[in-house]
Symmetry: none
Subunit: 200 residues, 4 copies
DNA sequence: AATGAATGAGAATTCATTCAT
DNA sequence: GATGAATGAATTCTCATTCAT
């Protein structure tokens, strides 16, 4: 039903809808958001919404995909962090936390939607897997270099440590308190380093 | 409106409703559960539901309170685990994981409901605090005994390690895969022990 | 179904229910009053209510009857007011207004109930007729005595003048303002006297 | 939620709803009227009702406003009635009675609704005030012209006389008997004229 | 007489989606 | 492309009354 816009005007309308949807979802959550709210915020008629998106679920999934892509991008360390393992771990954690601080409101809505929408849940878990796989590869490299304890099960350890970080950003967003991210990143980096047996 | 039952018959009916609610919530989730489903499962008229509970939210909160109390009870280590710190940590983690395996379905519904119901969210976070405080006290003791690294910030460290465990049970429930809990508990205990500087 | 109480204890319970009903109806109006409110106020179980009254409507009608009887009684002039016609008219109006000041809250509820309950409406209108008939008889006497204008249609004139008084008490109760009853009674008595051609 | 219609089609639908609501309210009274009755009578879906009105109360208030405006319009005497005071009073009363004969069914429902809906009650009393003020102004003019008794309190007298008229139309509608409006208007005009001391 | 648990019909309202213009 | 009117299924909650104890 919904179609990719062919005209420039259409593209702009679709973008307005996406931006409006993000704003309204963040403000009201998924359930409380009405399609009419999104249309109103985008200054279009309700019918126009359905010109570009099949449903409320569909526009949300589009937002989720964009969110995940941005998160992955922004938390990549790559060549940036230098060769020091502990420094690389710290940078990775810091970037992840920072990315959540930027997008945390939408993330909360994703958690909500994932609790009753299979498509959203699948994307959420798939995205999580990607992060864990990256961490697992990193850990394996350190083991291969003889820097990390080679007896550890890299899969399980990486999953648990990533979960620790994930849990921190989720709960700190839930609690809404002004967290000291620096100290938290220091602490989780310390735990991470000790856990994989990195020499101090 | 709702009232505590005065007679034995009333108490039984109220208990039937609670049990029916738990079952239906676990099967269908919070949103998909209708009050009429609960009443039907309990073999009472809809009006009878409202004799004992003000709303769907109210009966859910009653279940949450019972759940939290049971979880706290079942995951207490106390004198059971002996004096060895690592063993105590392992037992605590194992009990927590086991308790979730028993009640995981309701826990998933609590996470869902917490995403749009403030009362549930408050309870969820308060319960979490209690666990973290217990872990913090345990860590402080080990530091005082000279067994754990005294330079660690006990609050932050305990929160992060508890978060790791919490995240594991949440996600493993979400993923619905048959996890090897023994291995996972071993791994998280190992991380925990290393993180607080427990001698191997 | 409901029965006249045979025991002393029963009579007391029935009286408590009537008194409680009056209080609750006055506070909340007919529609907002629940039978359970009445029972609670009377300190009896709901079932006990139905021992003495068939329904919510039935207890209300019982109150209406008592109200009408009291109103009629209290606004009777009889021999009290002396022989002067104007003085008799004034006393009658003053008593009627005073009686409403005492029972106005219930009267408002009767107006409400009369708007959807035929039995109440009938009683309300019948009571009104009784007052008008009394006024008509009074007017006819004055005409026979040559004191009032004999060309007037006594029925219509009495009905209109009674309506003036009735309207005053209804609206002044609705408006809830602190009315100057003395001045109002003076004014309506003046109108009444002039209308029937009483010599000044 | 409800919105003013933007298109001609919308305006027509809204008007159909208003007309249907008036008909159903008059037939069944406020309490017995269901929103679905109104929608059905207007040949629209229930949802369409809520496109234009927030609630059953809201559409009723809209009807009340229209009713009051029409009543005021139709009972205005203005230049129509000529300069003779008695004739002007008679025309005014006659128009008022006639207007009620046309709209009496809705008026009865307004009385009912005013007994439990504050917004309706406020409008009813405000409308009444407007009529009384008009009568007060008229009386003051006659006093200034030396035609009416200058010692009368114009406010109180006008209020009482208007109340007499109001009471007549209310009760004659309640009673549902075929009243002789001519005779009644004659009688109330006579009372009115005598009360304010108009020379015969 | 008194109790209070149980009943269930009934009505208002929401909002995602469709479709004629 | 854009508009906004129209749809109607679906669910909550109330409360007068009954009846077994």
């Amino acid at each position: 039903m919904s179609a990719a816009p062919v005209t420039e005007r259409g593209r702009r309308t679709r973008d307005r809808l996406l931006e409006a949807a993000r704003a309204v979802f963040e403000e009201r959550g998924f359930l409380e958001t009405r399609v009419s709210d999104i249309a109103e915020r985008a200054n279009v008629a309700i019918g126009t919404f359905y010109t570009y998106f099949d449903s409320k679920d569909a526009i949300f999934v589009a937002l989720v995909d964009a969110f995940i892509a941005a998160l992955y991008e922004q938390s990549h360390v790559g060549e940036v962090a230098g060769p020091d393992p502990r420094q690389r771990i710290r940078t990775s954690n810091a970037r992840f936390v920072e990315a959540f601080r930027r997008h945390g409101n939408l993330y909360g809505v994703i958690v909500q939607a994932a609790s009753f929408n299979d498509e959203v849940r699948r994307r959420r878990l798939a995205s999580r897997s990607v992060f864990i796989e990256r961490a697992t590869r990193g850990l394996r490299q350190l083991q291969a270099q003889g820097v990390a304890d080679p007896t550890l099960d890299a899969d399980v350890t990486a999953a648990l440590l990533c979960g620790m970080v994930e849990n921190f950003v989720e709960r700190s967003h839930d609690l809404g308190l002004p967290f000291d991210d620096e100290a938290a990143v220091d602490a989780m980096t310390e735990i991470w380093a000790r856990a994989i047996g990195l020499a101090p």
